[in-house]
Structures are given as structure tokens and as C-alpha cells.
């Protein structure tokens, strides 16, 4: 049975100059890793902050582990774990002290040793926070989010600004959380992260959820499982003339053209022929599987990274 871990209905939040969350409905089941994917400014962080009780919503319902902020604020806080986008600590607190201190705020807590081991900070347990690397600080923030053995964990951009190796390390910790039976809700603007970690996703743009589903189903819904790319040296030329000749949509990117297709096998010979005829000065041809990036592109006409 999949009791709901999180349920949002009609969530809205407007700031003086911008509508940050414009009516969001979400359902997250217990035990799943749920991702909010979207570009910067899509409203992911505001959505999380409203759920976490840091910001008050203008309208909408929030149910966390079957509880509401109005009635069970204290209980919600003691059962959720939160990693904020940037966790600011005292410069001269050590990871051990930080975990002890924050652990002391909760009725139920995990041992500091166990947490240090989980995020592989045993060697840095007594070093001042200011001396830790970005990845180590981020891992400490993750450990702090787990200090109360939470049922539901919120991670806001957990890997932003980390090098690839540190990112993999954090992914492992998130997978361990899932294995321990926790529900994880995370935001990211990395499509590879969303694909690698999330059981289900909501793609957000301009404060709205524009699609929900498993990564595989979202990609499958595109009905264009493949993309053929022509890369150029320098900037890609205007594809308008070639598009007409080919009879297919050609998306210009910085230094390449993308041609989404359900059937790359039959497209390819035709494409090369047309390119030859039009004397398109391309360098290389790639065929790749469609990704969440293409889903976003298809739905919004914009790239995730823009």
C-alpha cells in the first residue's frame, strides 16, 4: 500500500514582483525518490520552502505525512529532514558538534558516529566547518538532514556546485536513503541527476508543473526516442532552408542542429543526402537517445540550461 507522503493541491505563492508558484498539485508516495526538475527560477525552491514551512503559501493545501502545518507543525518538523540550498553554519563549529547540536533539537535521533560514517566525514569530524571543501560541507548538510531519522527528506539542489566525483558520492547517499525506506523529494536542474536518482519527476516551468511521470515514461511520451545531431565547427548556420528541403523540424543549438526522429535508421541516409546536396558544412553526426532535456525542450521550446 502506498500511503501518501506528500500531497499538494492548488499551491500558490506570489512575491511582490513575481508569481513563484502558480497552482501546483503533487502527490508523492512513501518510499519514492521524487524530483522537481526545472531551470533556475522555475519555482522549485519556493515550492520546497512552502512545503517545509519556511514560507507561507498564499493559497492551497499541503499535507505532509498526513499532517498539516496548522495543526501539527511541531510533529512535522520532528519527522522531516531538510537540506536547504545553502546551509550556513558557524565557521568554527565541527561536523561532530553540528550533528550533536542539531540532533539535540529532536526527540528521536541517530548517533553522530553513524551519520559521520554514512557521509564519509569521519576523518573531518573535528575540523572546523570553514576548512571543509564544498563537497564535504554539502555532505555534512546531508547528514544534518538525517539527524532525526526522518521519514521524509527534502533536498534542495543537493549537488549544485560540486565536481563530478562529489556528485556521485552524494547520489550514493540519496540511494541509501531510499534503501532505508525514506521518502526523498529533491530539486535539481541537472537532467542526468533526475534520470539517475528519481523514481518519479515533476517538470516545473514558470511556477507550474508541466509534466509528471517516471523518467522513462516522460521520455516515451515524446514519441521521438532519438535525436540526430549535426555538429559544426563554430556557430551552427540558420537551418531554415535545409529544414524545407528535408521536410523535418531542425532545432538549431549553439554549435549543432538537432533533428528529433522516431526512426533514425531511415532518416539517416536521407539526411546525409540532403546535407550533401545543400553543402551543409557539418563536422560530425551523432545519434542519441532522447533525454529529459528533450522533454523539457519539447514542452517549453527552451533548453533547461538557458
Amino acid at each position: 500500500m502506498t500511503e501518501s507522503a506528500l500531497r499538494l493541491r492548488g499551491l500558490r505563492k506570489t512575491f511582490p514582483k513575481v508569481v513563484a508558484v502558480a497552482g501546483v498539485d503533487l502527490d508523492v508516495a512513501r518510499g519514492e525518490v521524487f524530483g522537481l526538475l526545472g531551470p533556475n527560477g522555475a519555482g522549485k525552491t519556493t515550492t520546497l520552502e512552502v512545503i517545509e514551512g519556511l514560507t507561507e503559501a498564499d493559497a492551497g493545501e499541503i499535507e505532509i505525512l498526513g499532517l498539516t502545518w496548522a495543526q501539527n507543525g511541531r510533529e512535522i518538523r520532528s519527522r522531516i529532514g531538510v537540506q536547504l540550498q545553502s546551509t550556513s553554519l558557524f565557521n568554527k563549529i565541527t561536523p561532530r558538534e553540528a550533528l550533536d547540536l542539531y540532533g539535540s533539537y529532536y526527540p528521536k535521533r541517530r548517533s553522530t558516529e553513524e551519520l559521520l560514517k554514512l557521509v564519509q566525514l569521519e576523518e573531518k569530524a573535528d575540523a572546523y566547518h570553514i576548512t571543509l571543501s564544498g563537497g564535504q560541507q554539502q555532505r555534512l548538510a546531508l547528514a544534518m538532514a538525517l539527524v532525526n531519522d526522518p521519514e521524509l527528506v527534502f533536498l534542495d539542489e543537493p549537488t549544485t556546485g560540486l565536481d563530478p566525483q562529489a556528485r556521485r558520492g552524494l547520489w550514493d547517499v540519496v540511494r541509501r536513503m531510499k534503501a532505508e525506506g525514506r521518502t526523498v523529494v529533491l530539486t535539481t536542474h541537472y537532467m542526468d541527476e533526475a534520470e539517475a536518482l528519481c523514481d518519479r519527476l515533476a517538470i516545473m516551468d514558470h511556477g507550474k508543473v508541466i509534466a509528471t511521470g517516471t523518467p522513462a515514461s516522460l521520455i516515451a511520451e515524446l514519441a521521438i526516442p532519438s535525436v540526430v545531431e549535426l555538429t559544426f565547427e563554430g556557430n551552427a548556420p540558420d537551418p531554415a532552408a535545409f529544414e524545407a528541403a528535408l521536410g523535418l523540424r531542425v532545432e538549431p543549438r549553439a554549435d549543432l542542429w538537432e533533428i528529433p526522429t522516431p526512426d533514425p535508421k531511415t532518416l539517416l541516409p536521407r539526411l546525409l543526402e540532403a546535407a550533401e546536396a545543400a553543402a551543409v558544412p557539418f563536422q560530425q553526426v551523432h545519434i542519441r537517445r532522447a533525454t529529459l532535456e528533450d522533454v523539457f525542450l519539447h514542452r517549453t521550446g527552451r533548453s533547461l540550461r538557458e
Binding site: E52, G53, L54, T55, R74, R77, S78, I80, V82, L84, S86, T87, S88, L89, F90, K92, I93, E97, L101, Y102, S104, Y105, Y106, P107, Y128, M144
Partner: protein, 351 residues
């Protein structure tokens, strides 16, 4: 929970050695520095330059004897040195022998001192003559030089010490409490705490208690140095001293909290707090009295919280007087404190 929060604040605070050292040492350095520089400026003394002659007779001895009984500082100098000092304009009055009698030269630029000195010298001369002739000694009215309002401890260090105690409270409120609030909010430390079940008042109270104990330690060090180096001791009741200090602490801490609600960033707060701090410090009689300021300014300053607070503090600490007569002043302090408190509650933000 509160205890844990409090001890953690102290532990982290004690790690920032440089900040801690300066917080504790700065007032002490000010006290030692200014207290030593102005050590002798207790009250104005009258001085007389006495030109020494080689042929001093019984008459000279009797006059010198009579002069030494008076509240007068006598500088005995040989003629050339005395003349040089006179030429520099440093001498107010100079007593010379001219063969048969005496002559008193008075400096027209220092007429107030010179005039008073002349009176005393003439008095001494009458006494000396009476003693020489065996006549009954004329009786004098006793003279005493005082600094009104600071009867028992007239030196500058003892004036400065309560001022520094007060200043500590102001800077603790404005800079420590206020600045910490703004930077915690700015850096999101409050937000990280807000997602935990820790009641916010425990966190704030832990912080307030920490600041309070820092202030107590600071005050204790300052009082101890004042006592050991300058021999300044509290003249009034310790209970009343504590009462005034507690009132001031509450008032200026509330100030810090209130002001922190008006700044978005640490830089913004630094500007706002300095805007409040410097006028308070310069105008409220921390370093010097405002007795010679225009009347309207004195009235304005009396309505600000620091001046009446320091007045009450000095009344207790320096003069050993009770708090009677400071009711209005302390009410002004309390009113500022309450106003700041309500403003703080209204403006306080966690994020």
C-alpha cells in the same frame, strides 16, 4: 536545551580568539590609556613660582613656611629658570625679592588663577609677619578645592569608568546582538533552525544569555582593572549598581533587536547602527561632560537613553548616592527600552 544552546554559543565564541580578546581588552585599554594621560587633572591647582635667592633670611623662611600651609603649589626656581618660564607664558604668578621687600608679578592672560594666587600669597605674608613679630596669628577661613558633583572621586579615570561600562552595553546591544541577528538572517542560519522543532525563543534566549554573560565578564574585568590600577571602587550599593546595569542592558539589547529589523544585509546594518551609535557615544557624556554644551542640546541629550543611564550609573558608582532623584532619567531609559522592544517584536524576521 537552553543550557546546551547557551554553552554552545560560549564555546563557539571562545574560538574566535581575536574577536574575544578585543571585546574584552578594548575598554580596558581605553581606561588605562585615558586614565593615565589625564591622571592628574583631578581639579585645577593654583601654583606660584618662587624665585630663589642666595641671601635668604628669616623673613623668607617664615614666608615659605606660611606658603606651604596653604592650598598652593609652590615651584622654587632660580632666577634664570623662572624668567624663562615667565617668558614662555606658563607662569600665572611669580614671587620675587627685590632687596628690601617682595614683588608679585601676575600674568594678565591667566588672571583668574593669578588673582586667586595673589590673595593666598598676601595671606601667607600676613601670617609670616605675625609669626616673626610674635603677634597673635591672624585666623584664616579654610579653603578647599572641589569638583562639584564628583566629590569623592575627582580624577578622570573614575569619571571614565562608568562611561565605558555604559558604552559596553550599547555596543553589545547594537553591534553584537543586532549584527548577529542580521548576519544570521542574511546567511540563512535562522532558516536552518526554523526547519527543526527547536522553539525559536530558546535559540534567542540562549543568545541573549550568552551576550549577557559576556557583558558581565567585561564589566568585571573593567571594574577590577579600575580598582587595581586607579583604586576606583563602587561608592554606592551594589544592588543599585546592578539594577541600573540590568535596566541599561535590557534597553540597549532591545535597541539591537529593533534595529536589526530594519536592515537587509550586514553592510546595511553597519551603516544604521553607526548612525545610532556615534551620536549616542559623542553626545551622551561617555568621554566628557556636556556641561558647556548649549542648553537645547543638553535637553535633547537628556531625552536620549544613554545620558540619563550614565548619570544614574555615575550617581551610584562615583558619588555613592542613591537612585532617588533619577526617577525621571530611569523612566526615560525604560521607555526607550520598551519602545525598542515592541518595535523589535513587530519588525523581527526569521528570513
Amino acid at each position: 536545551m537552553l543550557w546546551r544552546q547557551f554553552t554552545m554559543e560560549w564555546r563557539l565564541y571562545s574560538r574566535d580568539r581575536v574577536a574575544m580578546f578585543w571585546t574584552m581588552a578594548f575598554p580596558v585599554i581605553l581606561l588605562l590609556g585615558f586614565g593615565t594621560i589625564f591622571r592628574d587633572s583631578g581639579g585645577p591647582t593654583l601654583s606660584l613660582v618662587r624665585v630663589v635667592t642666595t641671601t635668604a633670611g628669616a623673613q623668607d623662611a617664615a614666608l615659605d613656611q606660611a606658603l606651604s600651609d596653604l592650598h598652593l603649589k609652590v615651584l622654587a626656581l632660580p632666577k634664570t629658570e623662572a624668567e624663562a618660564r615667565w617668558a614662555r607664558g606658563e607662569t600665572a604668578a611669580q614671587l620675587e625679592t627685590d632687596g628690601t621687600g617682595y614683588r608679585l608679578r601676575l600674568n594678565s592672560y591667566l588672571m583668574a588663577q593669578a588673582g586667586a594666587t595673589a590673595g593666598l600669597v598676601n595671606q601667607a605674608w600676613l601670617v609670616a609677619q605675625a609669626r616673626l613679630s610674635g603677634a597673635p596669628e591672624p585666623r584664616r577661613i579654610p579653603v578647599q578645592v572641589e569638583s562639584p558633583g564628583r566629590k569623592r572621586s575627582a580624577n578622570y579615570a573614575s569619571f571614565l569608568l562608568p562611561g565605558l561600562l555604559g558604552l559596553n552595553l550599547v555596543s553589545m546591544g547594537l553591534f553584537s546582538v543586532g549584527m548577529v541577528n542580521v548576519s544570521y538572517r542574511e546567511k540563512g542560519k535562522f532558516r536552518r533552525l526554523a526547519v527543526t522543532p527547536l522553539p525559536k525563543w530558546i535559540f534567542l534566549l540562549g543568545q541573549v544569555l550568552h551576550r549577557l554573560t559576556v557583558t558581565v565578564v567585561q564589566a568585571a574585568i573593567l571594574l577590577l582593572v579600575g580598582y587595581l590600577v586607579f583604586g576606583i571602587a563602587n561608592q554606592g550599593s551594589f544592588f543599585e549598581l546592578l539594577l541600573v546595569m540590568a535596566l541599561g542592558t535590557g534597553c540597549f539589547m532591545a535597541f539591537g533587536f529593533a534595529l536589526s529589523g530594519f536592515a537587509e544585509t550586514s553592510e546595511g546594518y553597519a551603516a544604521i547602527s553607526n548612525l545610532v551609535f556615534f551620536p549616542l557615544m559623542m553626545l551622551s557624556g561617555v568621554y566628557f561632560t556636556l556641561d558647556s554644551a548649549p542648553a537645547w542640546l543638553q535637553r535633547v541629550v537628556a531625552g536620549l537613553p544613554l545620558a540619563p543611564f550614565l548619570k544614574a550609573l555615575r550617581a551610584v558608582f562615583n558619588d555613592g548616592a542613591g537612585l532617588a532623584g533619577h526617577g525621571l532619567g530611569l523612566t526615560i531609559v525604560a521607555a526607550w527600552g520598551l519602545a525598542a522592544f515592541f518595535l523589535a517584536v513587530k519588525r523581527f524576521r526569521w528570513a
